[in-house]
């Protein structure tokens, strides 16, 4: 009887520890700023070039994550990329002339959308489109531009 009790106790402790470890792995090691799309509104923006922007990339304002990219699609009519993203409903007073640019976190980091507030009295809402956008910086273009310019200067 005593032995069964200690076996049950040991098993219980083991299972508890295992579950705690699993919980720790699933919640603490992955992006804890898990953005819930429960209360949010979606906004679109068109970019000439999205670089390597992917789904679930953060949308940040002043460096704080306020939303997530939900879709990156190519529009065959307009011949540019249409990016759809969700913004948390708490932030419903973003001027509708704000501009969106694709930025890179750190030198080799992943890309995200940075919003810069405008001065309009009207706010972004469900389905609105951001007019002012700035494409991702493509290193190759920068280099070729630089080479081209420097060649011109020396002549």
């Amino acid at each position: 009887m005593r032995q069964t009790r200690s076996v049950e106790l040991g098993t219980g402790l083991f299972v508890l520890l295992g579950m705690a470890a699993l919980l720790f792995l699933t919640t603490q090691t992955t992006g804890s700023q898990a953005f819930s799309a429960a209360e949010s509104y979606s906004v679109t923006a068109r970019f000439e070039n999205v670089g390597s922007l992917k789904d679930r990339a953060p949308v940040a304002m002043s460096g704080v994550t306020i939303g997530r990219v939900t879709a990156v699609e190519f529009d065959p009519q307009m011949l540019n990329a249409q990016v759809t993203f969700q913004i948390d409903s708490r932030f419903d007073q973003i001027p509708d002339d704000s501009d969106a640019s694709i930025l890179t976190a750190g030198l080799l980091g992943s890309q995200y959308i940075g919003l810069q507030a405008g001065g309009s009295d009207l706010y972004l809402e469900e389905g609105s489109e951001i007019q002012f956008t700035q494409s991702a910086i493509v290193i190759e273009n920068l280099i070729s531009k630089y080479l081209f310019n420097s060649g011109g200067d020396s002549e």
Binding site: V7, T11, L13, F14, L17, G18, A21, F24, T26, T29
Partner: protein
């Protein structure tokens, strides 16, 4: 020569077929044992899991510590010491956690299963059960198999967590990497998918290692030498199977 090759292949295929049938019989009997004779399973979870906890925790801690040291020496060449957390977390959660745990599990719990069952067979205990109209598959094999399957993912998770703390201790407390950067880098790069990959792997490895241990024990030649051979084979086969499956699953997930 060709005939030998054919016999070897024939033998291998038949073993594989028997193993599959054996596996299906274990699975078919699992639910009823799990719900009606839970006590048997709990005992085996204790044997396979709780008793393996010490070796898993000690190994996990030192594997994590080594990852911290090695990661630091490599990453500091690129001035990227802050990524030490990501390095350790990726290695532990996706590869080392499930694989090393499975190898240790095969060595610690798998051998115990194989030799126990082999000895039961050698001392005619299994035949005695059959005489008493008790199915040894249900009474002996299924609970041990289930115990291993249940324990393995938890052991792997414990291994990864302890390993992370080992890496944290070495990286942050010993080598002076910033604590905030350590966790923040882990959280920004690691996705839930990566964690699930590790858990999926550990479940598969748990099934394979337990299945092979029980199978080798059950098919042991009922002599002292046969039991020792079965024990050795259970470890060797589990290790090979785990490493091959690891390659396949990793290739699939990427």
């Amino acid at each position: 020569m060709l005939r030998d090759l054919w016999y070897a292949l024939d033998d291998f295929l038949r073993t594989l077929g028997q193993l599959l049938i054996f596996f299906l019989r274990l699975v078919a009997n699992s639910p009823s044992i799990l719900f009606r004779r839970a006590g048997l399973v709990v005992k085996q979870v204790y044997n396979a899991g709780a008793l393996s906890l010490v070796i898993i925790m000690v190994s996990g801690f030192f594997v994590g510590g080594v990852l911290g040291l090695q990661g630091f020496s490599i990453l500091s060449k690129f001035n990227a010491e802050d990524s030490i957390g990501t390095f350790a977390a990726f290695s532990l959660l996706k590869e080392l956690g499930p694989v090393v745990t499975a190898l240790l599990f095969a060595g610690r719990a798998g051998t115990a299963l194989a030799s126990e069952i082999g000895l039961m067979k050698a001392t005619d205990q299994l035949s005695a059960m059959e005489m008493m109209a008790t199915n040894p598959l249900r009474r002996v094999l299924v609970p041990r198999f289930l115990g291993g399957v249940i324990s393995m993912p938890m052991l792997a998770a414990v291994f990864s967590v302890i390993g992370l703390f080992g890496a944290h201790l070495v990286g942050v407390n010993l080598l002076g990497v910033d604590q905030g950067a350590f966790w923040q880098q882990i959280q920004t790069t690691l996705e839930l998918k990566d964690v699930y990959e590790g858990i999926f792997k550990s479940v598969v490895f748990g099934v394979v290692a337990s299945l092979l241990a029980v199978w080798e024990g059950y098919n042991a030649v009922p002599t002292a030498e046969g039991v020792s051979r079965a024990t050795t084979r259970s470890v060797v086969n589990s290790a090979i199977a785990v490493l091959i499956l690891d390659f396949i699953i990793t290739a699939r997930f990427i």
